[in-house]
Amino acid sequence: MGNHSDGSPNHSGTVATAGQNEVEKFQDPGIPPHRLRLADTDPKAAKRAERQVALLFGISVVGTLIFLVAYFAIDLGPGESTIGNIRLQNMLLGLGTAFAMLGIGTGIVHWAKALMPDHEVSEERHAIRYEEDRQAAVRIVDDIVEETGIKRRPLIRNTLLGAVALAPLPAVAIFGDLGPRPDNKLAHTMWAPTDGQLKRLARDPDGTPIKASDVTIGSAFHVIPEGLNELHEGKLNEKAKAVVLLMRLDPESLNPSPGREDWGYNGIVAYSKICTHVGCPVALYEQQTHHLLCPCHQSTFDLTQECKVIFGPASRPLPQLPIAVDDEGYLVATSDFKEPVGPSYWERDMHERSINS
């Protein structure tokens, strides 16, 4: 087959080309003869259809009544607004509306199909434009352009173009206050010690601090920094960066890389809960395999390999929070994360370097 891409007309059509010839085409027999409906020939059938349409409209009236009864008879006042009441009312409102609407709709359609004339008609299509109009329009545009003199006066044209090109800039600039500059806000979380005071790890959501002795092997805690719940402003913003998963494994199965040996305590390790993919909470912990799974896009992180990605769309390991135990036995973060948490962003690498320098 192949060698015809040079444009040789000798293409490999597998089928007869006969039929392209006008003479050999089937002639259009025209619109098929009209077939009368039962209601066209039998007055009884027509009467019956009429009654059916009326009945459907009647059903619509019943539907409207159902709606009104359900609306006024079922009260959602104090104490009345139980799930059962709401479900019943919602169902009856739906049923009433459905009857009201379907009654009208099916009634009209039945009326149209059974009783209104169903002769198919043929209408000529008109040209979308006429040559005469087109020529007149071209002449008008030419005249308009000519009268402005824009072709003869390039100075006017060019300065106008320049002005018009620049004029929208304020419209863009005026949106500058939609948000603050990002600066390095994404590089820091609440875990950074304030005034030398290390932040305790606290339970999410009640905010009670966690003792190292509470964390048994195999257990997992959802953790927030102590003091988060007392924030008055930006609580969710801080929480969206600071949430942490705390787990305890057999210390033997952890393989800390050089420099990270003291980031855990006795097999207890803490990792950011915000997925490095697009930021969902990595909320599922498979205790047996020591895998963390993000329910949004199924990125899987291996706890025994410092939360390296072993499956799914995430690219980077979850950031680890260095932790230790304070004098009273509570778990504390010894510092902020050593890298920005959450989804990657353009300046992330820069921020990571500035954190570690």
Binding site: S5, G7, S8, H11, S12, G13, T14, V15, A16, T17, A18, K25, D28, P29, P32, L76, S81, Q89, N90, M91, G94, L95, T97, A100, M101, L102, G103, G105, V109, W111, A112, M116, E120, V121, S122, E124, R125, G179, P180, R181, P182, L186, P205, L236, N237, A240, H277, V278, G279, C280, P281, A283, C296, G312, P313, P343, S344, Y345, W346, R353
Partner: protein, 556 residues
């Protein structure tokens, strides 16, 4: 009044309706419009209904949405819930979520309206999508309707935008996680991503601005644009008049159907109520987006097995399919000290980008390949344009693979298979699914065309078996009447257009590419049966279905 003073007596309407119509007409000149449209002919076919469903869903969205705005408060200020839903009593939440709960539990009919609104939104996008598939597969996008195809494509994007901005408004846990994902995707955009994220959310995610901003987009900007596009869309439908399916009596110069008044208007008008009724049934009986189960947005918890609304699924699925690491190699790269999150950027932008670019450009692509610049008002049956149908199915399957991937976890739990395996399979299908779909569809379309030829030439099978005197059994075929036959044979079958030199006598590289594509499009076309073939078929009883050239061409 001046009837006596003029030569011709002024028209005086006899009925009350007539007098009212006359009053309006005399002031706005409506009779010209009525004369033009009152009896305008509309072709009728069940597949023309999808566009109507979209239009009616939009009307229902406007009605139910207006109701909801009276009760919804898009504030992200903190409050403590004190409504009737006991499990959330005293829980800290945003005012937006609080008012969404109030609409559901303390406003009579509020839950119903919320459900109607959400179901109508899902139906709106779905009906636009199906309508576009209909338009694509029947070739209704060809001249003169290319621009209307573009307007329709814009409407699809706007519908998705309307859906997503609305989905996020209740500020529940599920939609909050959806916003979190959007934020992550935005942050992956090189250079400006972080800024866009901060500008959109008014600072760090989630901030306190996003719901109010989405609300404004959802109830003002996006619906206004949709309305504008609908006006343009319908205006062009009127200018072009509707397309019609091929059949006896229909050609590119006429339009066969029912007059607008009364039959078509009645059917279309009645259909609005049917769409409304079906949506009301769904809203009454099927829960959609039970926000009270999810709780208020909190960046920490998330529930497993959550899905976005269906129309966002394909992007979410693409995000899931992309591997973030290949062995120890990270797809995310640090170049020149900056981060390129290809593991997010590529799946979020590339598949959707390809789908929408091809969608917008397809009318021009096909016009370039076929050099067909004529007006088409008669539709193609999908089988009669096998390559186009195959391209459409390839795109559709590609979309569906991504869409299915958005539910990979549910597929895994539902069928008790490994989540990883589901992902591997879907990744494979992402690559080969469209190719298989293309080949299969094209073969099926060609087979259907051959079947049409067979039926046109030999008639339909009657199921009546006759034994001939010499013992042979045959099944009697009944010939078609000429109307039914014309439907099977009355179609255009474009041929391969070889490359031709331009005015300088040169066959350009572009022209060669066009010729190559033309060959790819039409080389194995099945031509419509001809009267001569019919003659021959009747003469020889069971002659070959296809012309004898078939055998020749296969041998070379």
């Amino acid at each position: 009044m001046s009837a006596a003073s003029t030569a011709e007596p002024a028209f005086v309407a006899k009925t009350k309706t007539g007098r009212f119509t006359d009053f309006v007409d005399a002031r706005v000149g409506g009779s010209g419009i009525l004369r033009e449209f009152g009896r305008k002919v509309f072709p009728d076919h069940w597949s023309f209904m999808f566009g109507e469903v979209a239009l009616y869903s939009f009307v229902i969205l406007l009605l139910s949405g207006t109701f909801l705005t009276f009760f919804f408060d898009p504030s992200m200020a903190e409050t403590h819930y004190d409504g009737s839903y006991v499990p959330l009593k005293g829980v800290e939440m945003s005012v937006a979520y609080n008012s969404s709960l109030d609409i559901s539990f303390d406003v009579r009919g509020g839950l119903f309206m919320r459900q109607v609104h959400h179901w109508a939104a899902l139906l709106f996008v779905a009906s636009i999508a199906v309508h576009m598939l209909r338009v694509f597969f029947t070739g209704a996008f060809r001249r003169p309707r290319e621009m209307n195809w573009v307007v329709g494509s814009v409407l699809l994007i706007l519908a998705m935008a309307a859906g997503f901005t609305g989905y996020s408004l209740p500020d529940d846990l599920l939609s909050g996680n959806g916003l979190r994902i959007i934020d992550g995707v935005i942050k992956s955009i090189p250079i400006v991503g972080t800024y866009i994220s901060f500008f959109l959310f008014g600072g760090e995610f989630p901030g306190t601005a996003i719901i109010g901003r989405l609300y404004m987009l959802h109830i003002l900007l996006v619906p206004a644009l949709i309305l504008l596009m609908i006006v343009l869309h319908l205006f062009m439908v009127v200018v072009h008049k509707h397309t019609q399916y091929p059949g006896p009596g229909r050609n590119d110069n006429n339009v066969v159907g029912y007059p607008l008044g009364p039959v078509y208007a009645a059917k279309a008008g009645g259909f609005f109520f049917i769409v409304f009724g079906v949506l009301a049934l769904m809203a009454g009986f099927f829960t959609i987006n039970p926000i009270w189960n999810y709780g208020p947005y909190d960046p920490s918890p998330v529930s497993a097995g959550t899905q976005p609304d269906w129309y966002i699924g394909f992007v979410d699925g693409a995000l899931r399919l992309m591997p973030g690491t290949l062995g120890d190699w990270q797809v995310e790269q640090n170049w020149f000290g900056f981060v390129f999150s290809f593991n997010v950027l590529l799946p979020a932008l590339v598949p959707a980008g390809i789908l929408f670019t091809v969608m917008f450009m397809y009318p021009w692509i096909e016009r370039w390949i076929t050099k067909d610049d004529r007006e088409h008002h008669v539709l193609d049956r999908p089988r009669n344009a096998p390559t186009r149908t195959a391209i459409g199915m390839a795109g559709f399957v590609w979309y569906c693979v991504m869409w299915a991937a958005a539910g990979s976890d549910l597929i895994a739990t539902h069928f008790g298979v490994s989540l990883n395996d589901v992902t591997y399979w879907l990744r494979t299908l992402f690559i080969i699914g469209p190719i298989i779909a293309f080949i299969v569809t094209k073969r099926v379309a060609l087979a259907l065309q051959r079947k049409d030829r067979e039926i046109a030439l030999h008639g339909r099978e009657t199921g009546r078996i006759v034994r001939l005197p010499h013992g042979e059994f045959i099944e009697v075929h009944a010939p078609l009447d000429e109307y039914k036959r014309y439907k099977l044979v009355g179609f255009e079958s474009p041929e391969v257009l070889p490359a031709v030199p331009n005015e300088h006598g040169v066959v350009t590289r572009k022209e060669k590419r066009r010729a190559f594509l033309s060959k790819w499009f039409f080389e194995d076309r099945v031509a419509p049966a001809t009267p001569a073939e019919l003659e021959a078929a009747h003469g020889h009883g069971h002659a070959a279905v296809e012309a004898p050239e078939e055998a020749k061409s296969l041998s070379h």
